[in-house]
Assembly symmetry: C3
């Protein structure tokens, strides 16, 4: 077994889903990993990860709107407001979406389903630089 590691940097400009499937796949191809497990970990408390619909942009729009409605900004009961009206809501959105993902690798590719893509989910309004840790366990030496 062999271990590979890298970080994926994502420059976000506002809330929403940022596709990172290709950034992950590029590393796996460079490392020539044939089989194993891919691990992603988001090092932020106001951004998260997601595996979901990658084909139709309206699906992505509905996911973004849903999270806006589920944990709206600027609620009167928020106590954590130091960094503005999107401070607390961004932690709440990160709470109900994953910080870590594990995705199998087979035949040199991520074993995603036909319609699946990997996203960084940005929850802050302002521009951010996000770091997603990628680790790969290869079953071959």
């Amino acid at each position: 077994m062999k271990w590979y590691k890298d970080a994926i940097e994502v420059h976000t400009r506002g809330k929403g889903l940022y596709p990172i499937t290709e950034l992950v796949m590029r590393r796996i191809r460079q490392w020539q990993v044939q089989e194993g497990m891919g691990y992603l970990f988001c090092q932020h408390t106001s951004a998260s990860l997601l595996v979901n619909e990658n084909y139709d942009p309206t699906a992505r729009a509905d996911m973004e709107t849903f999270l806006d409605k589920l944990a709206p900004e600027n609620q009167s009961w928020y106590r954590h407001t130091l960094e503005g009206p999107d401070d607390s809501s961004s932690h709440l959105r990160a709470m109900v979406t994953p910080a870590s993902l594990t995705i199998p690798i087979d035949d040199g590719e991520l074993s995603l389903g036909t319609w699946q893509g990997i996203y960084l989910f940005e929850h802050r309004v302002d521009e951010q630089r996000r770091s997603v840790l990628l680790r790969v366990l290869s079953t071959r030496d």
Copy 2:
């Protein structure tokens, strides 16, 4: 360390929780894995996975009702409606429940708690054939 892989096929007939604990355990026993880590990955964007209450059917019913209420079908603001009123809601339900699970294996069994079971969570109304990837890292050779 040794690597095992298989896919678990689940034939669903409508929305709800489908128990897959036994299907997973059967493979682990066949492979005679004593200790390690079990990985599950759902290859769909309108179905997901869940570890939760496995004993009382009313708990399962409440979990299904809750998700129906949290992300209802047929909302006027949905833009992703090509495949019907349960299209967008199914992606939203998959968004707030996991696509991947990691469960330890000890003494030849999944180390689930007393009341825990593993489910495929189907979010579409129509009959579907679902595929859940199972990977096992065994700590023994």
Copy 3:
């Protein structure tokens, strides 16, 4: 590669977020793991895990309030009420927060972001003893 295992016991006194970062880190230091992957698994259906804001207590308070509002206790439609008004709500809260976490280890430490901490999320009102399984895959022998 090498495998380490332990269980982290958490004595909870009511609903809320209980920090466990230090309990996890202590094991990793004892085992002298330099690099690899840390796995956490919560063996309960009315408690879960979370990686989120660890610095400002108001962020934690808002996360607890949010989950109280998202899946309130004592709803008229709940059918699973055998163990009281916080029975069904506790499973629902466990449903939308993770049962398993995977966190990279580098340079002998968990690779958490600056503001991230690990929590056990207790969803029951009464005192409980919770068990979180810790597994570590070390890339060194």
